[in-house]
Homo-oligomer: 393 residues x 2
């Protein structure tokens, strides 16, 4: 009865299969390699108790009143100083997901092209698709070919969306040279880059590489998140961007939700400026490194021939490639019934998530998360998953 | 350099003059009747301290992890039970402003008509305009005339937006009969009603009237807010709506921000279910009633002939009407320089906020807030404003 009432955008909405999994099962009751959840043990519960009292005493009523749309000054300044940028280039967002969505909102009209990795973050695909963007997923770093293909068809490229550090879902990282190439392409073809880097500080080996934003601040919108360095329950992220772009985002955000959660912002500001964040981050990195190593050794031990996987230097995920013909979407129910969960890699491919296409791209892949599941439960989980895969291939 | 990169929507964005005021002055340093801020003394700081410890102890890590997109079950259930609806009809939002915005997002295409009061809430106008809706402001309850006008021009009416209780900006309330008329029009002409009621529980006299949602749950999307009954710094509101509508909003919200702030939700749930909310609300009502009465008596005492105002039964605002020809936008700088702030009523009129029109509608009106300013500062504030007005008219 409502179908004639919805906007055109709605026909392009698609549900997150990851969030649907969360509705269906209690993640704590199974071996879950599915979500992108931080490990609950990294949440500094006792410190949060102390901090919440401190925030009330120090900031009083202003922590509970409406706040500035750009974010409370003390948090904007803490972010600016941590990342070496001017405070006028910092917008606090109500989650990093909002950062992605608001970029699409202010930059994209229906039919405009967004270039993305292939695969790329599902939540970005959901948002971009909902604005009826033409999402062009690019494999094997063949960006210039894809760009020229779009231009020859008369399409308008609005931005390139990229997760340079420990990508979701593959765990892969762009080299410095690759970052430079992307930035040069943005300049050459005059489009923006949306650099989404929620896992950036979770590096377990190798050297930190510069952000694309630092290489070309006039061409890049950088998105950061407190979800992986503090806690996702405080819905907070940030945008670093040229002021003119930020100004449109700011006005948009007024009508989206007026301002980010204010108490949450003071909590994050105090957590950051007290040094607790960095101490806690070191512990998270230790934990996640050992969990990554454990998962890699378990895959080595249990996975059958014909299965390969990425070796991420950081982040929360690795990506499994199964023999051609394997259907990780169909296989999912079998795995879940047996008590083990993952996310099919297909959901991260623009082609597979496009209703108008009948693509099988990515069906022989799986994203495995290693941050959430307790370390001692990883071995039975992978053993189970491996044996189910062995039965199937 | 970025002008060719923005989406078409951006050309329709307009800044909130209210939020611009907040950037310009320290509200605590002047006599401010401007914002829609609750009084800081209504924030239960000591209870919040206690509750935050309780939430950590009771809910542990789950208060800091990602949450369900619909909201955490305990808060959805508390809202459902307070308002006598089924939990499946409840979506928690990241602020009531998000509720407004997401309705426009899932219902409106460029050019679609949204019927509104004339004047109506500025933040709704910002959102609706940003989706390039055709906003038709309706005065003097001439709804059917306006509807037939739209239909005769071949326009599609998507919904009627209405604040039935203590409207922002006028403070006026729809009678039960008027609510019935609107609901009947919605049925007759087959459009939805978005019923925005953030002030509903702040009634200082008269009897509570049924929501339009309760009169016709299949035609109405009801928006509620925790900002006026708990604290706006926790960005939380709720939507009550038919399940089919809610389902589209739910999928949209996945890509907007994944889920509402989780810790904030547990705080609100505990505040509500412990009974603290109702106790605190009684105190807020006492305070605001006395502030309203005080403002009404001050206007009576100081305002010159030719100025009239509304007598709200609740909420945070009343509306001042000055002689024809008075320009409350131009007058604003003079008032601010002298140390008193209000919001020009013009900003709440769809015509005035439409760049394509050159309307002077509402220029002879002012919105006055009576919740924010300390009671003892209201008299010098109104005395000053009145004398400035007297000099001008």
């Amino acid at each position: 009865m409502y179908s004639d009432k919805f906007s055109k955008d709605v026909s392009n909405f698609f549900r997150s299969p990851v969030r649907e999994i969360f509705k269906r099962v209690d993640l704590n009751a199974i071996y879950s390699f599915a979500g992108g959840y931080p490990n609950a043990s990294t949440f500094p519960l006792e410190q949060i108790k102390t901090l919440s009292g401190l925030v009330v005493d120090k900031w009083g009523a202003s922590a509970f009143q409406y706040g500035a749309t750009q974010g409370v000054p003390v948090l904007r300044e803490a972010v600016a100083s941590r990342y070496g940028v001017d405070v006028s280039n910092v917008q606090i967002t109500t989650s990093s997901q909002q950062g992605i969505d608001v970029c699409a909102r202010v930059l994209v009209d229906p039919g405009d092209v967004i270039l993305t990795g292939n695969p790329t973050y599902l939540g970005a695909l959901q948002s971009f698709r909902s604005y009826r963007a033409d999402i062009v997923g690019v494999s094997d770093f063949k960006w210039e070919e894809a760009i020229q293909g779009c231009l020859s068809e008369g399409k308008k490229i609005k931005f390139l969306y990229m997760i340079p550090d420990f990508q979701n879902p593959t765990g892969e990282t762009l080299t410095l040279e690759q970052r430079r190439v992307l930035v040069d392409l943005a300049k050459k073809y005059d489009f923006l880059i949306v650099e989404d880097s929620p896992y950036r500080e979770l590096r377990y080996e190798g050297e930190h590489l510069p952000t694309m934003y630092s290489l070309a601040p006039e061409m890049v919108i950088h998105l950061g998140s407190f979800s992986k360095i503090f806690a996702p329950g405080f819905r907070l992220g940030w945008i670093l961007a040229p002021q003119e772009v930020l100004d449109s985002i700011y006005v948009c955000k007024q009508s989206l939700d007026l301002c980010p959660p204010v108490f949450d912002q003071y909590m994050a500001a105090e957590f950051l400026s007290s040094g607790m964040l960095d101490k806690n981050l070191l512990k998270s990195i230790e934990l996640y490194r050992s969990k990554r190593d454990h998962l890699l050794s378990l895959l080595e031990k249990y996975m059958p021939q014909g299965v390969s996987w990425t070796h991420p230097q950081g982040g929360l995920f690795l990506f499994l490639r199964l023999p051609e013909g394997f259907d990780s979407v169909a296989f999912y129910d079998k795995a879940l019934d047996a008590g083990v969960a993952y996310v099919s890699g297909a959901f991260f491919y623009p082609a597979y998530t496009d209703k108008s296409k009948e693509s099988t791209e990515g069906l022989n892949t799986m994203r495995l998360n290693f941050s959430f599941l307790a370390t001692e439960r990883m071995e039975p989980g992978i053993k189970l998953l491996s044996s189910l895969i062995k039965e199937t291939i």
